[in-house]
Symmetry: C2
Subunit: 254 residues, 2 copies
């Protein structure tokens, strides 16, 4: 077949050639206009050199992410505006090896910062003792990982998630979670540098203190700085890529 070595889920983010990713890049490659009708499932299966079943699984995913609209007995249509796509469609792409554009990183950071700010503000007012314990437990775990010279991507994720949980509003955690997944690979790379881990941990501790003392003003200021630092880092680190990209179109694979 096409790729005999690996068998992975059609939607598996870890797969570098998942059918969803290939379907997505086909749409991109064919430069299909919004609202366009895609080839039929049977044709897509041929085009992608796979079975109809796999195509259907991929389509089901893209449908749930509002990238595509499947109309019974009629056809498959691209959604009208690109903003119809769920943010999770971007998340999926980012984790299937599709190159994330610098703009997307910057824009996502802007939204994430807005959410995180509001979340921290609420957390200061609503956090329970248990929330605080949970946050500090994660901080302790992080300390251990750092001491063992390991990355702290997981713990970083958990920390921010715990902050979100302290708002007593699950939706914050759910939405922010998408952003964490979106930046997962980048954060993993970032935290491969021990210095970054330590710096991050310092800031997390300060933020925790502020939340412990319910000092919303200070907590917001700290998290803003935390976010800004990441934003600058990625913005800067990706300038080179930007140049490369503008020269030769965006690379398909990582």
């Amino acid at each position: 077949m096409k790729n005999p070595m690996k068998r992975t889920s059609v939607a598996d983010p870890a797969s570098d050639t998942s059918t969803v990713a290939r379907l997505l890049s086909y749409i991109d490659f064919a430069n299909l206009k919004p609202g366009t009708r895609l080839p039929s499932e049977r044709e897509l299966a041929e085009l992608l050199r796979t079975s109809r079943g796999s195509v259907r699984e991929a389509l089901a995913v893209l449908d749930s992410l509002r990238v595509v609209e499947v109309r019974s007995n009629s056809g498959i249509y691209l959604r009208v505006r690109a903003t119809d796509y769920s943010f999770d469609a971007l998340v999926l792409q980012a984790n299937t090896g599709v190159a994330v554009k610098p703009v997307e990183i910057r824009q996502s950071m802007e939204v994430r910062t807005a959410l995180e700010l509001k979340a921290v503000d609420l957390a200061c007012r609503r956090r329970t003792k248990e929330d605080l314990h949970q946050i500090r437990r994660i901080l302790a775990e992080t300390e251990v990982e750092i001491a063992n010279d390991k990355g702290i991507e997981e713990q970083d994720h958990a920390f921010h998630l715990a902050l979100a949980a302290a708002t007593q509003n699950d939706i914050y955690a759910r939405v922010l979670n998408s952003f964490y997944w979106f930046s997962r690979l980048r954060r993993r790379a970032y935290f491969s540098n021990p210095l970054h881990c330590r710096q991050s941990q310092r800031e997390h501790i300060a933020i925790t203190e502020a939340i412990a003392s319910r000092n919303s003003k200070r907590a917001c200021a700290l998290i803003l700085k935390h976010m800004k630092r990441a934003e600058i880092y990625w913005g800067g680190a990706l300038n080179q890529d930007r140049v490369k990209l503008s020269n030769a179109r965006k690379p398909e694979q990582k």
Copy 2:
């Protein structure tokens, strides 16, 4: 087979018995703990009285929505925390006929309000003439629909999406879009009352004026009022449900 009358996509939100929905309600019904391993695909197919293919399509969706983790040759596992689920998982439920809990409505309104506020603020500063034209065009369309005694769910959606677009940041539109889809059915019901349509339109016009004159303070105040009104409406209308629910069971997590 099981349901011979209707043929709808596995992920089709309009279907009231989609496999995703049934799988979701099975998980709920079986009261599976986080991290639990689900029955195998073949067993699930039997349980849900359907084919393995359909189950796989549903699983692909739930996987992309981070409800479930499919591990190759090992099994299907529920994600550890409920907050791992993408918000779009809720959106999916809401559009597959699963009853939306009042808590979820309230919480989603809180997050949506935070996003919408920030978005309007940015829109005031960044909106272009074209953005303004687009918004006013939608306003005009709405006027027509109202004159024809039709619902304005579509136009309401478009209006808020246009506001988000004026931020020059697609991610706002993408994320907010999920919230609009989440409340789609409720808004449809809401706008079946012509009075609500008119009231909404009045507020939309006022907001547009504020954005036109780049008066961020005023625009934020107006959109906040707009949101609050909706929040109160749904909170009030759903108090009965709240009673019902509190008898049956307490709100989920925390």
